[in-house]
């Protein structure tokens, strides 16, 4: 999954470079960059990468889609690309076609639950739904007497309480009160809420890893420009060692995220090994977001703390992404329980399974 080794990523990077330049976006107080960016991404078929041709998408592989999300993280892209990809993927699991336009998934936290009532309507509350306010449709995973269903929902039929995450992106509470879905179908056995959260968690992990790559780049560049005490700050050993640690955190995040993406892309089912990969990625990337982002800010000093500087576009988003699809604390508890249930002598075989 190296950079630009596939056409999907190449296309995306070109669009991001042209229309999602962080400095340009940061200077644009009106948000006028959003519409052209989304239009270009849509024309290239990227938001529906994970939707097969016959369901209205562009039918890219899971692996290509994951690489695209990593690239989106490198540009700290703040349009619902990941969310629409996940929604399209979820709908496609139940062979539901994806409509055009922005989408997001409901729920976006493993602790929220939407139910499907006996009359086929949907009820429940989902907090922290990314870009709900911008979405033209929701892909909803709901639980009912007959098991798990996947539904396409019109957001105007729901109540949306807007909110912002720590990275200033929309992160809203969605309430469904006996909402009639646009379309609904039973989910295949292989897909449940945990599957959705693991997919979402890996998507966020790749975005965090991408943001860390960029934080490392701009921090290294800045340290080679900024002069203090009559020399470049990159020549101070304390700064060098901080940057070395940032490189380590960035590398660890990228390794964990790409490994999990590779595991899912090649998995026959979401077994314990895939669970280990995906949960670990979310845990480790969230930790790296904190440690690595902290170093990036330390290297930049006060300038990196200003709203004019682009650093916060990466650092705050990486921190915000920790919360989506299960925080690192949530996954750590669940992974710890899984390990305990399997028993001490089964820990190493699990770790060494791939």
């Amino acid at each position: 999954m190296a950079e630009s080794d596939n056409i999907v990523v190449e296309t995306a990077e070109k669009i991001f470079a042209d229309l999602a330049d962080p400095q340009t976006i940061n200077n644009d107080k009106k948000g006028s960059w959003q519409a052209p960016l989304w239009q270009a991404l849509s024309e290239a078929g990227l938001p529906l990468s994970w939707v097969p041709d016959d369901l209205g998408g562009s039918g890219a592989s899971l692996a290509d889609g994951f690489a695209l999300l990593n690239a989106a993280g490198r540009f700290a892209v703040a349009v619902p690309l990941a969310e629409t990809m996940l929604a399209g993927w979820l709908l496609a699991q139940a062979k539901l076609a994806s409509p055009a336009g922005e989408m997001t998934v409901v729920p976006a936290s493993p602790r929220d639950r939407i139910t499907i009532n006996a009359d086929g309507t949907l009820s429940g509350r989902a907090r922290g739904v990314p870009f709900a306010k911008a979405a033209k449709h929701f892909a909803v995973l709901a639980h009912g007497g007959d098991g798990v269903s996947i539904a396409l929902v019109d957001p105007s039929k729901t109540r949306i309480e807007p909110g912002l995450n720590v990275g200033y992106d929309h992160n809203d509470t969605v309430t469904l009160d006996k909402v009639q879905p646009v379309a609904v179908k039973a989910a295949p056995k292989s897909v449940d809420q945990t599957t959705l959260m693991l997919m979402g968690g890996v998507a966020r992990s790749l975005q965090i890893a991408g943001a860390l790559e960029s934080m490392l780049d701009i921090s290294v560049r800045y340290s080679n420009e900024r002069v203090a005490f009559e020399k470049k700050i990159s020549k101070f050993q304390a700064v060098q060692h901080n940057l070395a640690r940032l490189a380590g955190e960035s590398a660890a995040a990228l390794a964990a995220a790409t490994s999990a993406a590779d595991a899912i892309a090649n998995a026959k089912s979401f077994d314990d090994e895939v669970y280990l990969e995906a949960a670990s990625a979310k845990i480790r990337c969230a930790e790296a977001a904190e440690k690595g982002g902290g170093i990036a800010h330390q290297v930049h000093g006060a300038i990196g703390f200003t709203i004019e500087h682009i650093l916060h576009r990466y650092s705050l988003r990486a921190l915000a992404w920790r919360d989506d699809f299960g925080s690192e604390s949530y996954w750590a508890v669940e992974l710890g329980k899984l390990v305990a249930r399997r028993g001490a002598d089964e820990l190493w075989p699990l770790v060494a399974s791939r």
Binding site: M1, S234, S250, A251, L254, S280, V333, L335, D345, A352
Partner: protein, 386 residues
């Protein structure tokens, strides 16, 4: 182009899994016959020659080397599997581990043919032990300050000076050491050191054991007094050792031994908390397992780079930096999480005994084989900062 380092998600091929089963069965058999105790940390002063010979019989030492030198021509990924399984089982690999990991590869690259034919097959049989002679009393991390002299004489060199902190020197048959053959130059302070193969247990070499805070006597002072080394024991270029050190470091610094040194306390913690842990224990274990998994994936990825013929020195430094800091903190985190383990937990005594040893071991992990500070310097250079 970004400065970030990529660790591609290498998967172990199918044949590795078959090998893993064989290694596990072998180790279970050895533990059952009492060769070693899997619950006892891999005490580095433990030397079990007959175990090493049996590992050699299986073809698991020098397994990546050419067949004509006793190797199996297998891949680095297969070697990786053997190494990690031995480490996790607390197997006594001391005698062959250094030779297998780095001394053998150095000989393969730089030794004359007759020496390769003599020594490499014996390494593969598990018969010979190697030490590494780098540090000196006033030259540790600053390798190129080494002063121990190799003075040219008829047919070879006379060695005078002292190496220190030399692991296994007391049992070693050979040492690969760097000695000063010329003074450094103004342009290059790294110039003037030469790598030599030293035959231990010879006149002019005195090995003095040094006690460690763990209670072990595992490293040594090695004093050379007019010790003679023949010309054909020079490894590589005279005065040019600094050009040769780098690839060795990638082997030395990226393996599973760089994060599994205290792993046993994590296994024992999982046993102690039982199948239904409280939230605090579950979260703590989950985080540790996620961190462990990530490092292993990075380490396997470096093995893949070595297999592809690359020299991933910066990547290896990152693995060792993150890995050794983690394995150093692990006993302390496990101690935190074990604070409320029931008095009645059946393995409580084992866990406490292991923690006692791991906590004493921990300080050395970020020092041996390249300190954290040296590693971060290498990473910083890789980032273009120096």
């Amino acid at each position: 182009m970004t400065a970030a380092l990529r660790f591609d998600p290498i998967r172990l091929p199918e044949k590795c899994e078959q090998l893993r089963k064989e290694v596990r069965a072998f180790l279970a058999e050895e533990a059952a016959r009492g060769t070693f105790d899997t619950s006892k940390p891999n005490r580095e002063d433990t030397d079990v020659p007959e175990f090493c010979r049996r590992v050699g019989e299986r073809g698991w030492i020098g397994m990546t080397w050419p067949k004509k030198y006793g190797g199996q021509e297998r891949s680095f990924l297969e070697r990786y599997v053997v190494t990690e399984e031995m480490r996790v089982a607390n197997a006594p690999t001391r005698r062959f581990f250094v030779a297998d990991r780095q001394s053998g590869p150095v000989l393969l690259k730089y030794a004359p043919e007759h020496i390769k034919m003599d020594i490499l097959p014996r390494i593969c049989k598990g018969e010979v032990c190697f030490a590494i002679g780098m540090s000196e009393p006033n030259s540790g991390s600053d390798l190129f300050a080494a002063k121990t002299r190799a003075t040219k004489t008829e047919g070879g060199y006379l060695i005078n000076g002292t190496k220190i902190w030399t692991s296994s020197a007391h049992i070693a048959d050979y040492m690969i050491a760097i000695f000063r053959t010329s003074p450094p130059t103004k342009e290059n302070r790294r110039h003037g050191l030469t790598q030599f193969l030293v035959k231990m247990k010879q006149p002019g070499i005195k090995v003095n054991p040094i006690g460690q805070i763990t209670g072990q006597y595992e490293f040594n002072e090695v004093v050379f007094t007019d010790h003679f080394i023949p010309d054909d024991h020079v490894l590589g270029e005279v005065d040019g050792a600094w050009k040769q050190a780098t690839s060795e470091l990638a082997y030395e610094r990226s393996g599973p031994e760089r994060f599994l040194e205290t792993y046993y306390v994590l296994t024992e913690l999982v046993r102690a908390v039982g199948p239904d842990p409280d939230t605090r224990s579950a979260e703590g274990i989950g985080r540790l397992v996620a961190q462990l998994h990530t490092m292993r994936r990075m380490s396997v990825s470096v093995a893949g780079m070595l297999q592809a013929g690359k020299e991933p020195v910066v990547e290896a430094s990152i693995v060792k930096d993150i890995g050794t800091v983690w394995e150093q903190q692990l006993p302390h985190r496990v101690r935190d999480l074990a604070a409320f383990v029931e008095e009645t937990a059946t393995n409580r005594e084992t866990l406490e005994r292991q923690l006692d040893f791991a906590i004493k071991t921990a300080p050395k992990l970020t020092i041996q084989g390249g300190t954290t500070e040296v590693l971060r310097g290498i990473i910083a250079r890789g980032l273009g900062l120096r």
